[in-house]
């Protein structure tokens, strides 16, 4: 399988601060790739370099088979972290403008606009001014602006942030639709559940360096089966003074417990203390792995 994106030893500094440090990464064509990492870890800088908005200080970036990422730009749709729409424009004029800047013809753009407005549940709003739209509507229009030219690669910087569950679901369906059409999708997110459920592969960047890269299973394999999910009659109180517990992620009704020793021995000790309603040996969630890496 060819790669939609290939980064080789890419480094970027801002005023002496390393934003991205010696990063190598390949994104297979047709995959959905999730970028995760704490705020300020280098996700947006990496995405901007892929978009050729920023140039790397060192290293090489290849996008859709071209080293000159500017040449591939027309085939790449981009939704930046900070949404940018002209308030005084109508939706139709804005989408036509953004589509034409991507090199699409007006006929193709208009057909695409009709299709995506229907999918995004925004029918009959084409001649509305942007400033009259709700936040959710604006975000959906921004998404359409990224896909209106039918790109081969779609880069979305935190596409689901700030959306209510209904609009978030509409947008997730739209991302899957793009993959269905053959596009490669890269998106950054702070929502680990979304990353776990949607992404074929996940990449985590921390302090400018790659710390995770692979499928969810392979990442979880790296971190072993040292986690048990429990539900007891006494909740968190049952877990005090147990030296084999390394950390507890408390959800109130349930707890994810990371162990150093044998899970069966832990179950025996726990059952002696309290009534155990649920006990499941599991692999650490992406959330757990993220916290393990990023916690100071």
């Amino acid at each position: 399988m060819s790669n939609a994106i290939s980064l080789t030893r890419v480094t970027k500094q801002f005023n002496g601060t390393l934003a991205v440090d010696d990063l190598s990464l390949t994104v297979p064509t047709g995959s959905i790739y999730g970028f995760i990492g704490p705020n300020g870890s280098g996700k947006t800088t990496t995405l901007r370099m892929i978009m050729h908005i920023l140039l790397p200080d060192r290293g090489e970036i290849e996008v859709l088979g071209s080293r000159d990422t500017a040449a591939a730009r027309d085939r790449v749709g981009y939704l930046p972290e900070e949404r940018g729409l002209y308030k005084k424009m109508t939706i139709r004029r804005l989408l036509r403008y953004y589509g034409r800047l991507k090199g699409a013809t007006l006929a193709n753009i208009d057909a695409s606009i009709e299709d995506w407005m229907r999918r995004m549940e925004l029918p009959g709003l084409l001649d509305r001014q942007i400033e009259t739209l709700s936040k959710g509507m604006s975000q959906k229009v921004q998404f359409i602006s990224a896909v209106v030219s039918n790109p081969s690669l779609l880069i979305l910087d935190e596409p689901f942030s700030g959306l209510d569950p209904v609009n978030a679901q509409v947008l997730k369906d739209a991302v899957l639709e793009m993959r269905q059409r053959g596009a490669t999708v890269v998106f950054s997110t702070h929502d680990m559940t979304t990353a776990e459920r949607m992404c074929d592969r996940i990449f985590m960047i921390f302090r400018g360096r790659k710390v995770l890269d692979g499928s969810l299973e392979s990442i979880q394999d790296q971190y072993g089966a040292d986690t048990v999910r429990i539900r007891t009659s006494t909740g968190l109180a049952a877990l005090t003074d147990m030296p084999e517990i390394e950390s507890v992620n408390d959800f109130g009704q349930m707890q994810d417990v990371r162990l150093q020793g044998d899970p069966q021995a832990f179950l025996a000790r726990l059952a002696a203390r309290t009534s155990v309603y649920h006990f499941e040996v599991t692999r650490p969630s992406l959330q757990d792995i993220f916290v393990r890496i990023a916690r100071p």
């Binding site: 901007r48 978009m51 908005i53 920023l54 500017a70 730009r73 027309d74 790449v76 981009y78 930046p80 900070e82 949404r83 940018g84 729409l85 002209y86 308030k87 005084k88 403008y97 953004y98 034409r100 800047l101 991507k102 090199g103 602006s145």
Partner: protein
């Protein structure tokens, strides 16, 4: 280039739909034209109240003839006195006050109080020595309406005429003969003879103030207005895109240089449209008011558009760069101040250039690239115009400056466009320009 044109088209559409542009195109001519019409329609009607003034004649020989002149004037009979036109405004009614033996200051105070009580509009005192030309005596006019000059002007002409008549009478000289003999020979100002298209000699045309001064001045004002309408709009557009985070979307599709050039081209197209509308309007007005449409020659229009394009490259790029370097309108207004001064300098010096268009000051200033669009254009519009080499030199210097400014602005634009937080300083902008 294709994407630059798409940006230019969008920018043009946005610019011509802005309130500033619509006001410039529709409202401003309406307001200006309306004001002129209003002034013309009402100038004779606004001042119609009779002005009664006291006349204290210490000579004893001025009051009577002056009253006769006033009676003629008030009956709207054309006057033979030079400088006194037929009455269109109020009547001027003299009220003679015999000074007698009264204390002069007490009389002046009493008349001043009558003026304050609005029984009189003003009072005039003609001293006894006024008939002696060697005395240096002056006629005194007292009023609490210092800005009203119609009555003093009328008095200056009429009293002087009466005083001169009296002086001639006392010297036993026939004044009518003196006036006839001392009548000045007028100068008829004309252009130069030239050979016409049919081969014959074309007579020199009479010099018209409208042609000689009106057209150059109009060209200067139009250039100033067009630049001041368009360039700040480009700044606003960049700041809006930056503050709304639109810039990042755009530079994901187009290079910053293409984006900036698209904006410049859109701004230039909007300015050209504005200018063409004004020039067309100017042609109609010039033709209607005095048949001067031929004074707006295709050459002047051509030079105007050429200088406009180059000046928009310079000022548009500067304003775009400032927009990219700033994070709010307030900061941008502070940074615009020095640029605005650059634009104002030629406007302030235009008077000197008009007085001596071939002088050293005019020559030097019209070669300065930021002043050339105003002052070289002004010199071209003034007859006989500057030598061709000066025009070519000024265009070359402007073109070089435009290229440099566009290049520097592109570097500032690229760096500043994605910067958030505090606005850049001039020093930082300079560093961005110098960075590789």
């Amino acid at each position: 280039m294709h994407k630059t044109l798409i940006v230019a088209q969008s920018e043009f559409t946005t610019l011509v739909k802005t309130k500033a542009f619509l006001i410039s195109v529709i409202l401003m001519p309406l307001v200006m034209g309306g004001s002129i019409m209003l002034v013309r329609a009402t100038r004779d009607a606004t001042d119609s109240k009779d002005r009664t003034f006291a006349l204290v004649d210490h000579t004893g020989v001025i009051a009577e003839p002056l009253k006769a002149v006033a009676a003629l004037y008030n009956s709207s009979t054309p006057s033979a006195i030079e400088g006194v036109l037929a009455r269109k405004g109020p009547r001027f009614i003299p009220l003679e006050i015999k000074p007698g033996d009264r204390d002069p200051d007490a009389l002046r105070l009493e008349l001043s109080n009558r003026v304050r009580r609005q029984e009189l509009f003003a009072f005039v005192e003609v001293p006894p020595e006024i008939l002696d030309p060697a005395s240096g005596a002056t006629i005194r006019y007292y009023s609490d309406h210092p800005s009203y000059n119609a009555l003093p002007q009328w008095l200056r002409a009429t009293i002087n005429a009466v005083v001169l008549n009296e002086r001639f009478r006392q010297a036993s000289v026939d004044r009518a003969l003196v006036v006839r003999l001392t009548k000045q020979a007028p100068i008829d100002e004309r252009g130069l003879f030239e050979r016409g298209s049919s081969g014959g000699v074309k007579a020199a045309e009479e010099v018209s103030v409208a042609r000689a001064i009106g057209i150059p001045l109009a060209a200067l004002v139009l250039m100033y207005m067009t630049i001041m309408t368009s360039a700040p709009q480009l700044l606003n557009s960049v700041i809006e895109e930056k503050m709304s985070r639109i810039s990042e979307v755009l530079v994901g599709s187009i290079t910053p240089f293409e984006l900036m050039m698209g904006k410049l081209m859109g701004g230039a197209a909007a300015s050209t449209l504005l200018s063409v509308i004004y020039i067309a309007g100017g042609l109609i007005v010039a033709q209607y008011w005095g048949g001067y449409a031929t004074a707006i020659t295709p050459a002047i229009v051509g030079w105007f558009l050429l200088f406009l394009m180059l000046s928009l490259c310079i000022f548009g790029s500067i304003f775009i760069a400032i927009g990219a370097a700033c994070n709010d309108l307030k900061d941008s207004q502070n940074m615009m101040t020095p640029v605005m001064l650059l634009v104002m300098v030629p406007v302030f010096t235009a008077g000197s250039v008009m007085r001596a268009p071939d002088g050293t000051l005019a020559t030097i200033l019209s070669l300065v690239p930021t002043a050339a669009p105003f002052l070289m254009l002004l010199r071209i519009s003034l007859q006989p115009g500057p030598p061709l080499w000066q025009i070519v030199l000024s265009l070359t210097l402007m073109a070089g400056t435009a290229l440099t400014v566009v290049w520097a602005a592109a570097k500032i634009f690229r760096t500043g466009l994605l910067m958030q937080g505090k606005s850049a300083t001039f020093a930082e902008m300079f560093r961005w320009v110098m960075a590789k």
